[in-house]
Protein backbone atom coordinates (compact mmCIF):
# COMPACT_ATOMS: atom_id res chain seq x y z
CA UNK A 1 0.00 0.00 0.00
CA UNK A 2 1.32 3.47 -0.91
CA UNK A 3 1.63 6.20 1.71
CA UNK A 4 -1.52 8.02 0.54
CA UNK A 5 -3.60 4.87 0.48
CA UNK A 6 -2.39 3.88 3.91
CA UNK A 7 -3.07 7.35 5.32
CA UNK A 8 -6.57 7.10 3.92
CA UNK A 9 -7.10 3.69 5.44
CA UNK A 10 -5.86 5.08 8.77
CA UNK A 11 -8.34 7.98 8.67
CA UNK A 12 -11.19 5.67 7.71
CA UNK A 13 -10.24 3.33 10.53
CA UNK A 14 -10.11 6.20 13.02
CA UNK A 15 -13.48 7.59 11.95
CA UNK A 16 -15.31 4.95 13.99
CA UNK A 17 -15.69 5.40 17.77
CA UNK A 18 -15.53 1.66 18.54
CA UNK A 19 -12.25 1.35 16.66
CA UNK A 20 -10.89 4.38 18.48
CA UNK A 21 -11.86 2.76 21.78
CA UNK A 22 -10.11 -0.46 20.73
CA UNK A 23 -6.95 1.48 19.88
CA UNK A 24 -7.15 3.25 23.18
CA UNK A 25 -7.20 -0.08 25.01
CA UNK A 26 -4.30 -1.37 22.91
CA UNK A 27 -2.33 1.76 23.72
CA UNK A 28 -1.88 0.47 27.24
CA UNK A 29 -0.97 -3.08 26.33
CA UNK A 30 -1.61 -5.93 23.90
CA UNK A 31 -4.84 -7.91 24.16
CA UNK A 32 -6.48 -11.09 22.95
CA UNK A 33 -9.79 -10.77 21.16
CA UNK A 34 -11.82 -11.91 24.18
CA UNK A 35 -10.30 -9.33 26.47
CA UNK A 36 -10.91 -6.69 23.80
CA UNK A 37 -14.58 -7.63 23.51
CA UNK A 38 -15.25 -7.44 27.25
CA UNK A 39 -15.97 -3.69 27.64
CA UNK A 40 -18.06 -3.45 24.47
CA UNK A 41 -21.70 -4.28 24.12
CA UNK A 42 -20.94 -6.07 20.86
CA UNK A 43 -20.56 -9.59 19.54
CA UNK A 44 -17.12 -11.03 18.97
CA UNK A 45 -17.63 -11.18 15.18
CA UNK A 46 -18.46 -7.47 15.20
CA UNK A 47 -15.31 -6.68 17.17
CA UNK A 48 -13.29 -8.98 14.89
CA UNK A 49 -14.61 -7.04 11.91
CA UNK A 50 -13.38 -3.78 13.48
CA UNK A 51 -10.04 -5.42 14.24
CA UNK A 52 -9.71 -6.45 10.61
CA UNK A 53 -10.16 -2.82 9.51
CA UNK A 54 -7.48 -1.77 11.99
CA UNK A 55 -5.10 -4.50 10.80
CA UNK A 56 -5.71 -3.60 7.14
CA UNK A 57 -4.93 0.03 7.93
CA UNK A 58 -1.66 -1.09 9.50
CA UNK A 59 -2.68 0.33 12.88
CA UNK A 60 -2.77 -3.01 14.64
CA UNK A 61 -0.74 -6.19 14.28
CA UNK A 62 -2.28 -9.61 14.83
CA UNK A 63 -0.13 -12.45 16.03
CA UNK A 64 -1.14 -16.02 16.70
CA UNK A 65 0.07 -17.10 20.10
CA UNK A 66 -1.01 -20.57 21.14
CA UNK A 67 -4.74 -20.75 20.53
CA UNK A 68 -5.32 -17.05 20.72
CA UNK A 69 -4.73 -14.14 18.38
CA UNK A 70 -2.99 -11.32 20.17
CA UNK A 71 -3.47 -7.75 18.94
CA UNK A 72 -0.74 -5.14 19.34
CA UNK A 73 -0.71 -1.46 18.48
CA UNK A 74 1.43 -0.55 15.45
CA UNK A 75 2.16 3.13 15.98
CA UNK A 76 4.06 3.88 12.78
CA UNK A 77 0.84 4.21 10.75
CA UNK A 78 -0.44 6.78 13.22
CA UNK A 79 2.78 8.72 12.88
CA UNK A 80 2.35 8.91 9.09
CA UNK A 81 -1.18 10.22 9.47
CA UNK A 82 -0.13 12.71 12.11
CA UNK A 83 2.68 14.06 9.96
CA UNK A 84 0.21 14.52 7.15
CA UNK A 85 -2.03 16.68 9.33
CA UNK A 86 0.91 19.00 9.84
CA UNK A 87 0.64 19.76 6.13
CA UNK A 88 -2.52 21.78 6.81
CA UNK A 89 -0.54 24.18 8.91
CA UNK A 90 2.00 24.51 6.11
CA UNK A 91 -0.80 24.98 3.59
CA UNK A 92 -2.28 27.92 5.51
CA UNK A 93 1.10 29.47 6.20
CA UNK A 94 1.77 29.51 2.45
CA UNK A 95 -1.72 30.78 1.65
CA UNK A 96 -1.52 33.63 4.17
CA UNK A 97 1.77 34.67 2.55
CA UNK A 98 -0.04 34.60 -0.80
CA UNK A 99 -2.85 36.72 0.67
CA UNK A 100 -0.29 39.30 1.79
CA UNK A 101 1.26 39.37 -1.68
CA UNK A 102 -2.19 39.68 -3.25
CA UNK A 103 -3.14 42.62 -0.99
CA UNK A 104 0.17 44.36 -1.77
CA UNK A 105 -0.31 43.82 -5.51
CA UNK A 106 -3.70 45.55 -5.39
CA UNK A 107 -2.16 48.85 -4.27
Amino acid sequence: MGAAAQRDAVFRALSDPTRRAILDRLKRREHGVNALCAPFDMSQPAISQHLRVLVDAGLVRAEKRGRERIYTLEPHALKLAYDWLGHFEQFWTDKLDALGAFLDSEE
Partner: protein, 140 residues
Protein backbone atom coordinates in the same frame (compact mmCIF):
# COMPACT_ATOMS: atom_id res chain seq x y z
CA UNK B 1 0.21 20.22 21.32
CA UNK B 2 -3.23 21.32 20.22
CA UNK B 3 -5.93 19.55 18.30
CA UNK B 4 -6.79 22.59 16.25
CA UNK B 5 -4.66 25.37 15.00
CA UNK B 6 -4.70 29.13 14.91
CA UNK B 7 -2.53 31.46 12.88
CA UNK B 8 -2.36 35.20 13.44
CA UNK B 9 -1.13 37.70 10.83
CA UNK B 10 -0.95 41.46 10.51
CA UNK B 11 -1.44 43.15 7.17
CA UNK B 12 -0.90 46.87 6.47
CA UNK B 13 -4.30 47.06 4.75
CA UNK B 14 -7.62 48.07 6.32
CA UNK B 15 -10.12 45.36 7.35
CA UNK B 16 -12.46 46.23 4.46
CA UNK B 17 -9.70 45.41 1.95
CA UNK B 18 -8.78 42.17 3.70
CA UNK B 19 -12.46 41.26 3.96
CA UNK B 20 -12.86 41.73 0.21
CA UNK B 21 -9.87 39.45 -0.44
CA UNK B 22 -11.48 36.81 1.80
CA UNK B 23 -14.94 37.00 0.25
CA UNK B 24 -14.60 38.00 -3.41
CA UNK B 25 -14.43 34.92 -5.61
CA UNK B 26 -12.02 36.49 -8.12
CA UNK B 27 -9.71 37.55 -5.31
CA UNK B 28 -9.97 34.12 -3.66
CA UNK B 29 -9.17 32.42 -6.95
CA UNK B 30 -5.96 34.46 -7.11
CA UNK B 31 -4.50 33.78 -3.67
CA UNK B 32 -6.35 30.72 -2.35
CA UNK B 33 -8.07 28.43 -4.86
CA UNK B 34 -10.57 28.44 -7.73
CA UNK B 35 -13.98 28.86 -6.15
CA UNK B 36 -17.66 29.73 -6.55
CA UNK B 37 -17.75 31.29 -3.08
CA UNK B 38 -20.35 33.94 -2.22
CA UNK B 39 -20.53 35.90 1.03
CA UNK B 40 -24.05 34.70 1.79
CA UNK B 41 -25.00 32.81 4.93
CA UNK B 42 -25.82 29.20 4.03
CA UNK B 43 -24.19 29.45 0.58
CA UNK B 44 -22.60 26.18 -0.49
CA UNK B 45 -19.44 26.38 -2.53
CA UNK B 46 -16.29 24.53 -3.56
CA UNK B 47 -12.61 25.23 -3.62
CA UNK B 48 -10.92 23.39 -6.46
CA UNK B 49 -7.33 22.29 -6.40
CA UNK B 50 -5.22 19.65 -8.13
CA UNK B 51 -6.35 16.16 -7.03
CA UNK B 52 -3.82 14.26 -4.98
CA UNK B 53 -3.71 10.63 -3.95
CA UNK B 54 -6.38 10.23 -1.27
CA UNK B 55 -8.12 13.52 -2.08
CA UNK B 56 -10.17 14.45 -5.15
CA UNK B 57 -8.99 18.08 -5.03
CA UNK B 58 -12.38 19.49 -4.05
CA UNK B 59 -12.98 21.24 -0.74
CA UNK B 60 -16.69 21.51 0.06
CA UNK B 61 -17.76 24.52 2.08
CA UNK B 62 -20.85 26.18 3.48
CA UNK B 63 -20.89 29.68 4.94
CA UNK B 64 -21.93 29.36 8.60
CA UNK B 65 -20.96 32.76 10.03
CA UNK B 66 -20.94 36.11 8.30
CA UNK B 67 -20.38 39.45 10.01
CA UNK B 68 -18.64 41.86 7.59
CA UNK B 69 -15.92 42.96 7.95
CA UNK B 70 -15.19 41.15 11.19
CA UNK B 71 -16.04 37.49 11.10
CA UNK B 72 -16.41 34.76 8.51
CA UNK B 73 -16.65 31.00 9.00
CA UNK B 74 -17.32 28.10 6.69
CA UNK B 75 -17.21 24.35 6.80
CA UNK B 76 -14.21 22.72 5.14
CA UNK B 77 -14.79 19.15 4.03
CA UNK B 78 -12.76 16.86 1.84
CA UNK B 79 -12.85 13.24 0.71
CA UNK B 80 -11.01 10.81 -1.55
CA UNK B 81 -13.79 10.78 -4.19
CA UNK B 82 -17.42 11.69 -4.89
CA UNK B 83 -18.86 8.42 -3.59
CA UNK B 84 -16.84 8.34 -0.39
CA UNK B 85 -17.53 9.72 3.05
CA UNK B 86 -15.80 12.92 4.09
CA UNK B 87 -12.58 12.09 5.90
CA UNK B 88 -11.86 15.76 6.50
CA UNK B 89 -14.78 17.47 8.23
CA UNK B 90 -13.59 20.74 9.72
CA UNK B 91 -14.38 24.45 10.12
CA UNK B 92 -12.33 27.46 8.98
CA UNK B 93 -12.96 30.73 10.80
CA UNK B 94 -11.54 34.16 9.98
CA UNK B 95 -11.55 37.05 12.46
CA UNK B 96 -10.51 40.57 11.44
CA UNK B 97 -9.64 43.36 13.82
CA UNK B 98 -8.43 46.88 13.02
CA UNK B 99 -4.74 47.19 13.88
CA UNK B 100 -3.71 50.83 13.48
CA UNK B 101 -4.27 51.51 9.78
CA UNK B 102 -4.01 47.80 9.07
CA UNK B 103 -5.64 44.54 10.07
CA UNK B 104 -4.97 41.77 12.51
CA UNK B 105 -6.22 38.59 10.87
CA UNK B 106 -6.75 35.37 12.80
CA UNK B 107 -7.32 32.07 11.05
CA UNK B 108 -8.61 29.11 13.03
CA UNK B 109 -8.93 25.67 11.49
CA UNK B 110 -10.85 23.49 13.92
CA UNK B 111 -12.78 20.25 14.14
CA UNK B 112 -9.96 17.75 13.77
CA UNK B 113 -11.17 16.14 16.99
CA UNK B 114 -12.16 12.83 15.40
CA UNK B 115 -8.86 11.56 14.14
CA UNK B 116 -6.49 14.29 15.18
CA UNK B 117 -7.67 14.02 18.77
CA UNK B 118 -6.91 10.34 18.76
CA UNK B 119 -3.52 10.91 17.16
CA UNK B 120 -2.62 13.56 19.69
CA UNK B 121 -3.68 11.45 22.62
CA UNK B 122 -1.48 8.66 21.31
CA UNK B 123 1.46 10.89 20.73
CA UNK B 124 1.20 12.39 24.18
CA UNK B 125 1.07 9.04 25.88
CA UNK B 126 4.41 7.91 27.21
CA UNK B 127 3.85 4.34 26.15
CA UNK B 128 3.37 5.46 22.60
CA UNK B 129 6.53 7.57 22.59
CA UNK B 130 8.56 4.68 23.89
CA UNK B 131 7.00 2.40 21.31
CA UNK B 132 7.70 4.91 18.55
CA UNK B 133 11.34 5.22 19.51
CA UNK B 134 11.74 1.47 19.42
CA UNK B 135 9.95 1.18 16.07
CA UNK B 136 11.91 4.03 14.53
CA UNK B 137 15.14 2.59 15.81
CA UNK B 138 14.14 -0.74 14.24
CA UNK B 139 13.31 0.94 10.95
CA UNK B 140 16.74 2.57 10.78
Amino acid sequence: MKRDFRIERRYPHPPERVWRALTDRDALSKWLMETDFEPVLGHKFQFRDKPRPGWDGITHGEVIELDPPRRLAYTWRGRPGPDQPFNIDTVVRWTLEPDGAGTKLVLEHTGFTGFRGVLVSFILSTGWKKLMRTKLADAM
